[in-house]
Amino acid sequence: MNIFFLLLGICFSNFAYAIDIHHLIEIAKPFDEITIPFGAYKVGTILIDKPLTIKGIGMPILDGQGEKNTVKIEAPDVIIEGFEIIGSGYSEVAEYAGVKIEAGERCEVKNNKFNNNTYSVFLVKSKDCRIFNNIISADAKYEATSGNGVHLWNCKGIIVEDNVIRGHRDGIYIEFTTDSMIKNNLSEQNIRYGLHFMYSHRNKYVRNSFLNNQTGVAVMYSKNIEMLENDFQKSWGRSSYGLLLKDISDSYIGYNSFRGNTMGIVCDAASRNIFIGNSVKDNGWALNILGNSESNFFKNNVFISNFFDAMTNAERTTNVFWGNYWNLYFGYDLNYDGIGDSPYRPMKMFAKWVAKYPELTVLLGSPVVEFLEIAEKVFPILTPITFMDSAPLMRR
């Protein structure tokens, strides 16, 4: 393997203009390593069509000058490392990205910075690639004219790890992609979703943080998704949710934390999912389970100081709650087994009424509502009877 060492040592940025990256890539042989010194390179589009490792030293800037893709990879085993990649183009018909990988295998995009790209990292029909430790930011204003931080389309086995993504449309967008792992990322201030799944089965996301997104995570039309130990925070607004499950089945939602969202978890046609050990705190609504969601199972979750614990629009439900902790539960435990002897009904009467008569919004926080809640607790007639936790925990 030949190695090009170019201009190691002291480099001046204006001197760096002399380096023609296009030419270097052209003359390089497969599996070469190219090292680029610090500098600002107005490159237009860099096309990489053979396996190469391209390394930046001191964060050289690759500027796409708003034309098309800044870096386009059409080969396996390409590694891009240590660049600041800016200025991908915007188009109504094509999706231009900071780094676009088409049909790549085992490619790596790591330790880069992305700024002001329409899409930052865009993977098409790729396999076993790794997007690692990048700082990705953009300044998205409108959903229609902006792109996603990391976009996976028709991929398999991608690992997205330790990235910081902010200010895009969707932080991470995954479509027709299977067997991926999304891990330890921070996705914040995106104008739509922090993480968005469409038709993507058997994926896993673990220990990510989703802060201040319009909606934390939207999982749509997918099966077998594992969602573990994530942090969903501060998605607050008129149609904001922590976690939106739309047509999701056979998935596992465990040990996540939901804090300060308008709605913590929304289930729309989500069935046969298991929710275990989640902590749902300080949300407007902890759960909104629409009538078309069936046979979900909630166990050992902790619900603390939510304005409303749950909402459903169904008269009967097949969702099962068992052994959750609800801080608004004031039952008794005569045999000291830690399980309350009377069931807890998380659905408030006012919740049901507001759904039916939206004008009642003005009574939000009125003492009348509290009095009626107490009456409803004693004689439940309005809230669905089967919607309850039959074994609420006495303490966390």
């Binding site: 100081s305 004008e359 003005v362």
Partner: protein
């Protein structure tokens, strides 16, 4: 008039109830702030309800007691050349400022202690104080018997605090087939407690929980226009009972 205001203020501060009022706000709001460290959303609702419960109740009872008990002194004052105008408004200002001071001190100290920003709520609390002192003056001038005044005062408080909302609920559920939003907004304007509550829930964006139904109410209570409209309504709520009360007071045979 200045003398009367200062006299009222001094009288107020010497009164042990003034201290009790402030202290009760200090203690109760501290309790809420203390638990609020872990339960922020519910805490803000409780704090709001605390203000909406105590401020009107105290202002009404204080105002009417002070006005009625003070009657003999007013007669003495009128014997020397003092206008009824300066007595009435001096008393009203002195009382309202005194009560507001106690409220702001009680809540302000505890909010500084826990460093929570409740300026908006405190401002509205002060406005509520002025409104309900006005209403108490109106009642004490139109009714003769002392017992009757206190009874009606409590009834008025119950009406504004509780019964009114029950009525709104009943109207909404009975007439749900009709477009009711504007009617409800109008109804809310006729109850100062509801105006304040809706303004605060919208300001703190609690109404976002209610999805798009909150949007209309945001227009009337949350936007710049809406807030100034509400401000105007609240000022009317101060002036209308006050002027009506003074009109009666002027014609009253003391």
């Amino acid at each position: 008039m200045k003398t009367i205001i200062f006299y009222e203020l001094k009288e107020m501060i010497r009164n042990k109830w003034w201290l009790g009022y402030g202290l009760s706000f200090f203690i109760l709001s501290s309790l809420i702030f203390h638990t609020g460290v872990t339960e922020s959303l519910r805490a803000s609702a409780s704090l709001l309800n605390l203000v909406l419960l105590l401020v009107p109740l105290f202002s009404l009872v204080f105002g009417s007691i002070s006005f009625v008990e003070n009657m003999p002194f007013q007669e003495v004052l009128l014997a020397i050349p003092t206008s009824r105008f300066s007595i009435f408004f001096g008393k009203w200002l002195g009382l309202s400022i005194g009560l507001s001071l106690s409220f702001v001190l009680g809540m302000g100290v505890s909010s500084l202690w826990y460093s929570v920003n409740v300026v908006f709520l405190m401002g509205l609390g002060v406005v509520l104080t002025f409104i309900f002192v006005s209403i108490s003056f109106l009642l004490s001038n139109f009714l003769k018997k002392k017992e009757l005044i206190f009874g009606i005062v409590l009834l008025i408080w119950l009406l504004f605090f509780l019964v009114y909302d029950v009525a709104i609920m009943a109207i909404v559920s009975l007439l749900s087939d009709y477009p009711l939003e504007k009617l409800i907004v109008l109804l809310v304007f006729f109850n100062p407690i509801d105006v304040v509550r809706t303004m605060v829930t919208i300001q703190e964006d609690l109404s976002a929980m209610m999805g798009y139904s909150g949007a209309l109410f945001y227009k009337y209570f949350g936007s710049g226009m809406g807030v100034s409209l509400c401000g105007g309504i609240l000022i009317l709520w101060i002036l209308f009972p006050l002027i009506l009360g003074y009109w009666k007071y002027k014609r009253k045979d003391l």
